[in-house]
Symmetry: C2
Subunit: 349 residues, 2 copies
């Protein structure tokens, strides 16, 4: 049997034009006028395309690993289509999150809602990105034996992400600093719901459904590995925001000034002396470079870099063990999780 094959961004992106055509034809079938059709096209191209597509590409990659061989053209198209749905779901979340966070840029360009003439229409554009998922599911998967499960999976993961987003918004509003809101428990809820389900669990659950091997046991095993992996991924993200090299991560971290409920501030809160707590209270979450520097110094005093290294080693040892114990009897493969871990272990960006 030929070895599984990893997809490339180029290959994955080459599927999009066909999906875009289907989506635009669908809108046209309702006689959506020219101007609105062009707007929808623009929104799809700017918001769904242009990211790293790690989530999307992990669907064909996982399917190939599950089958233990390269995919046929049809298999690749189907799995990449499911991958693009995860990208559409992400686009729906990012377009709206940028409004809710008053963000300025996304992927090096102004956020969609800040682009010329867009404004709050972006809210409806976000809705239409979400709706595109169900248009594609109906078009390509209506006769799939797991169609209902695919629909319900998207509904569930969407709601999970919305709960995570709600908790994030209420825990760390950018303008009100209240460290009493933070805790590792809150942190875990936010990370797991806002990020881990849609970024890690969703692509693998989709792959299992596509191959009709999404047994309860397989889904449960996948969840038990992928949710912790998603948590680890976000902890890395928070770590790199402060300790990463800007030339690696491609931006200058702003979590401290943005009052983010980050792993680092939660680790700090768990170990500070009363005096250090006061320093945190007075300097965290302020749009002030000097106050940010005070926090960065505190993180160094608290040896958070070392604490992260210790966490990472411990976590990776444990998760490797868990992956080793995966039961492959119902068609799940350890290699799916090893691939996810390999992609993120000790990443610097």
């Amino acid at each position: 049997m030929a070895a599984p094959q990893k997809t490339t961004l180029k290959e994955f992106e080459s599927v999009f034009p066909k999906l875009e055509e289907v989506l635009l034809e669908h809108a046209k079938s309702y006689n959506l006028p020219e101007k609105e059709l062009a707007w929808y096209k623009q929104s799809l191209e700017i918001n769904a395309v242009g990211g790293k597509c790690n989530r999307g590409m992990s669907v064909p990659d996982s399917v190939s690993l599950l089958l233990g061989r390269p995919l046929t053209e049809d298999e690749y198209f189907k799995s990449a289509t499911l991958g693009w749905m995860t990208e559409l779901l992400q686009a729906f979340f990012l377009v709206s999150d940028d409004i809710m966070d008053s963000s300025i840029t996304r992927r090096g360009k102004p956020c969609w809602y800040r682009q010329e003439g867009v404004g709050m229409v972006a809210i409806n554009d976000a809705f239409m990105l979400e709706a595109a998922i169900y248009t594609l599911l109906k078009k390509y998967f209506r006769d799939h034996p797991r169609y209902v499960d695919l629909l319900e999976l998207f509904h569930e993961v969407t709601f999970q992400t919305e709960m995570g987003q709600l908790c994030d918004l209420l825990t760390a509003p950018e303008d009100v600093v209240n460290l009493d809101n933070f805790s590792m428990e809150k942190y875990r809820f936010i990370v797991i719901y806002k990020t881990a389900y849609y970024s890690f669990y969703l692509p693998v659950a989709l792959s299992l459904l596509l191959l009709d091997i999404a047994t309860p046991a397989n889904l449960k095993q996948a969840e038990s590995i992928l949710i912790p992996l998603g948590e680890y991924f976000q902890i890395q993200d928070d770590y790199l925001d402060n300790f990463g090299l800007p030339e690696h991560i491609g931006k200058i971290g702003t979590d401290i000034m943005d009052n983010k409920c980050s792993w680092l501030v939660n680790q700090a809160l768990a170990t500070v002396t009363p005096d250090q707590r006061k320093i945190l209270e007075e300097n965290y979450g302020r749009k002030d470079k000097a106050k940010e520097a005070v926090i960065k110094k505190l993180y160094d005093d608290l040896k958070l870099e070392q604490r992260y290294q210790d966490y990472e080693e411990k976590f990776v040892t444990e998760i490797r063990e868990r992956i080793g114990q995966i039961d492959e009897a119902e068609g799940l493969k350890k290699s799916v999780f090893e691939a996810f871990l390999a992609k993120i272990y000790k990443r610097s960006k």
Copy 2:
């Protein structure tokens, strides 16, 4: 057989607490923290409850008419639950529409996004109102033979409404007055997609699906009556905005100052002389009472009140004829449409 029974707002609202409990229990099952749970509860109660519930109540009413008898307790609960889903869909649209329109009040209270401490979190709250539809569908209709059709119907009508909203937003931005954007064709697209599908077609399609008599012929007949009825309803709304009595409609119309793509302005545009067109260009869509008065005078000069009366008589005659021709062989009933028409014919509010 006992005559069908019309539901009351009180009866319909009495179903909501059970649905709310289900939605909150569902969120709790994911360990959504206390504060976020209370927030979700608040959003559900303020945004989904408190309207006239015409859309929602028309589901049990239609089901009772289709069955030709009062509903059993279980039938009432199931049909009112579907009715509440149309109210949740509307809540999702209204919460977000108010942000997109920078509206001030809704149902006599500040719009949700303008309430203390809410702001842009309202975008995510809108998402969660939409998600509630699918939570309830799964809870109560997973074993219904038409479950997939119910899901697809909500997806389709949601997307239709979003297309209507997009067209509305691009055609009549509040700040840029350009009457060249307007036309009766645009008007019809906006009205049909933004309002008619979810307000008129959806409740009846849900009723047909519930009773498993949603044959292609029945759906098509329903659509062919209900979409024109929805258009008529919106034309009335536009008419009343200018010619209705504030003490009847419960508000002072602002369509002229808000640059709305209203039936009246489109009728005006279709018949103005070049001089009158100039008056329109110079006075429509301005936040200025004197300019509004100029437009109101022009509407009188153009005899738009009479034009509306003529339209209404002609429309109602035609639609009655069409209702009379409904084929009831597959279980559809003329009385369903007669009830819709009776509720809106010559309404003054």
